[in-house]
């Protein structure tokens, strides 16, 4: 399935012709992708596109661990993204890892082009009916990963979206906003990008 959509937010004027691409690896509920797209526009001020760049991530599978190596996927995504796309945000259902760790929820190229989030472990403690909470988790954590590509690091403010959550409960507790520090640091980075 290939979905291409263009979205424009009402409240933000977009500073550039660049866009942020949301790239689902598998089929995801369109509502969820819409929510991510809306939040990306609201917080980062870029237009968004939803288009699947990469649907087969088998090349990154480690059969011994039965997990996918996220760094390899990021490299591939960054290479595939068209020139107009400033950042690629991939969402996948497969479980991700980096070699030294047992698993990761997601990975991002800090200050780079690509990031990925796995929804594999975000279902924890949820009944299948609790789709709203699940969606909120996915949206928050995709924004978090995308924040890294804009050079943001983890934040000590518990309510900030850039806070690194040790438990899924902490994810539910944190807000869908950047704290005032991260907002300023993001504005710096956006200004820098606009100038280059």
């Amino acid at each position: 399935m290939l979905v291409i959509k263009w979205k424009r937010s009402d409240c933000l004027s977009f500073q550039s012709e660049h866009s942020i691409l949301i790239s689902p690896v598998e089929d995801f509920n369109p509502d969820l992708l819409e929510s991510i797209s809306r939040e990306v526009q609201r917080l980062f001020g870029y237009r968004t596109e939803i288009m699947s760049l990469l649907q087969d991530v088998g090349f990154a599978l480690d059969p011994g661990r039965d997990q996918h190596h996220s760094t390899l996927i990021l490299e591939k995504l960054a290479g595939l993204a068209p020139a107009r796309v400033i950042k690629v945000l991939a969402v996948t259902r497969v479980d991700l890892f980096i070699p030294i760790l047992t698993h990761v929820y997601g990975e991002a190229q800090i200050g780079g082009r690509a990031c990925i989030l796995s929804t594999h472990r975000l279902n924890e403690g949820l009944a299948t009916s609790a789709r709203e909470i699940f969606n909120q988790r996915v949206v928050k954590e995709t924004i978090h990963e995308l924040g890294h590509t804009f050079n943001l690091r983890h934040c000590q403010e518990h309510a900030c979206i850039m806070h690194y959550c040790r438990s899924i409960k902490d994810v539910d507790r944190k807000a869908d906003q950047l704290c005032r520090y991260c907002r300023i640091l993001l504005a710096d980075e956006l200004k820098r990008l606009a100038a280059t």
């Binding site: 980096i98 030294i100 760790l101 800090i110 983890h154 690194y164 040790r166």
Partner: protein, 451 residues
């Protein structure tokens, strides 16, 4: 997670590139400064050039093993925390490493949370140690206060400048090497200003442990965090109506830079956990021994804050540029220390003074002060002799080819390090510079520890 998001320096030592890189990438997300080494040998080379808070060392490596690295590092820098990384088969070795001073070990692949918890534990422990040191230094600082002394042209210019700028209330940025008296200049500006009856509150931004900084500066509301049992006023509030002196401003975190900029722009701030705005009615004087413009270019210091601070700026001259002041300063210090120690030393020999005039004083007035203090303590007669001075080395006199400032400074540092068995804490105390300054000098001069 609290403590561990403020530029912890971590060195990863692993001969597998993929392990090094994936771990480095992961730790960088927390804002840590991460370096990697592909072998024990490379790690030791990196450690001789810069300081790290935490080492993550793979036990099994080609060449030098993780245990060898552990032993070597523990000999030279016992403060650094070392965590061993081990595969399932070599737990016994990991336990041996713990006996040899490793903090802990991680079994690979490890759970991201286990890594996070461990790093938190280490940084909290290190922060506590720094806090104790900080309070001790605070106590010492209070005991010492001097006035500015100098008849040289460069100092006369500084005195004139201070007279001119003191009444204005503008923000001032003072640059200059360690020990040149930036704090004294700030105090002089304060005492010559209309705010002289208000408080002069000095903060050494490089010395305050990062996790204490926010509450130290802004104060906190009761209940703002676990230890906040009482509402407490911060230094900014205490400076009301007076002058706030921010020493080593180049050392403050990005967060704190954002906060300070807001204070300077809006003239209000909030206590940690507080919602009531507090008016900031004070003058700000900042000082640095770094090249702040360079830090701005490198992205570690905010340009907007730099311009806010750099309204009026001047540089304190190093002592080697005003050697004509050495006799006057010496006389002053001799008088003071002979009084303090109750020893009847009242003169300095011609030869000793000649030595002092030849010396380049990399640690500036503070180094001179320490040299005289030592001379007064160890001196046997009424007159200070060259051999009473810590700077007196016969080889100085016989090796005129190494007379550039850099070479003299390097030689001095090497000597002090050797005399103190490369104990960084002791050596930096002796040189009267911060540990971080000493580390950066060791790096800059590529000074190597003798094998």
């Amino acid at each position: 997670m609290e403590a561990h998001m403020s530029n912890i320096k971590i060195l990863i030592v692993d001969d597998e590139q993929i392990m090094r890189e994936s771990l480095a990438g992961w730790l960088e997300r927390d804002g840590n400064l991460v370096a990697t080494a592909a072998s024990g040998e490379e790690a030791l080379k990196k450690l001789s050039k810069s300081r790290f808070d935490i080492l993550l060392v793979d036990i099994k490596m080609e060449g030098m093993s993780g245990l060898d690295v552990l032993r070597k590092v523990k000999e030279s820098d016992p403060d650094v925390a070392i965590v061993m990384i081990t595969a399932y088969g070599s737990i016994a070795t990991a336990i041996e490493a713990m006996k040899n001073g490793a903090v802990d070990y991680l079994l690979k692949p490890f759970d991201p949370n286990a890594l996070g918890v461990l790093i938190d534990k280490i940084t909290e422990h290190q922060a506590q140690a720094r806090e104790i040191l900080y309070h001790r230094e605070q106590y010492k600082d209070r005991a010492r206060f001097e006035s500015m002394i100098g008849q040289s042209k460069s100092m006369q210019k500084i005195f004139d400048l201070i007279q001119d700028i003191a009444p204005t209330g503008s923000t001032v940025l003072i640059s200059g090497e360690t020990g040149t008296g930036k704090g004294l200049a700030a105090k002089a500006i304060h005492t010559n200003s209309p705010r002289c009856n208000g408080p002069f509150v000095a903060i050494n931004c490089g010395a305050i442990p990062k996790h204490l900084m926010e509450s130290e500066l802004f104060g906190h509301q009761k209940g703002a965090f676990t230890d906040a049992k009482e509402t407490r006023k911060g230094r900014l509030e205490l400076a009301h109506g007076g002058t706030l002196f921010l020493d080593e401003i180049g050392e403050i975190s990005m967060r704190m830079q954002i906060d300070l900029l807001q204070v300077l722009e809006d003239r209000i701030f909030y206590r940690v956990g507080g919602t009531q705005p507090i008016e900031a009615y004070f003058r700000v004087i900042a000082a640095t021994n770094q090249n702040l413009e360079g830090s701005v270019k490198a992205g570690s210091f905010r340009e907007d804050l730099y311009y806010r601070l750099n309204v009026i700026s001047f540089r304190m001259p190093p002592l080697r540029e005003r050697k004509e002041d050495i006799p006057l300063l010496t006389e002053h210090f001799v008088r003071r220390f002979s009084q303090e120690t109750n020893k009847p030393i009242d003169k300095i020999s011609r030869e000793a003074l000649d030595e002092m005039m030849l010396y380049e004083w990399p640690g500036n007035v503070r180094e001179l002060e320490n040299a005289i203090e030592r001379a007064v303590v160890v001196g046997k007669g009424r007159i200070i002799q060259p051999q009473d001075l810590p700077i007196f080395r016969p080889e100085h006199v016989t090796s005129p080819q190494s007379n550039t400032l850099k070479e003299v400074e390097k030689a001095h540092i090497v000597q002090i390090l050797n005399e103190n068995q490369w104990n960084i804490a002791k050596s930096s105390k002796f040189l009267d510079i911060d540990r971080s300054t000493l580390y950066s000098k060791i790096k800059r001069y590529q000074i190597k520890k003798p094998a």
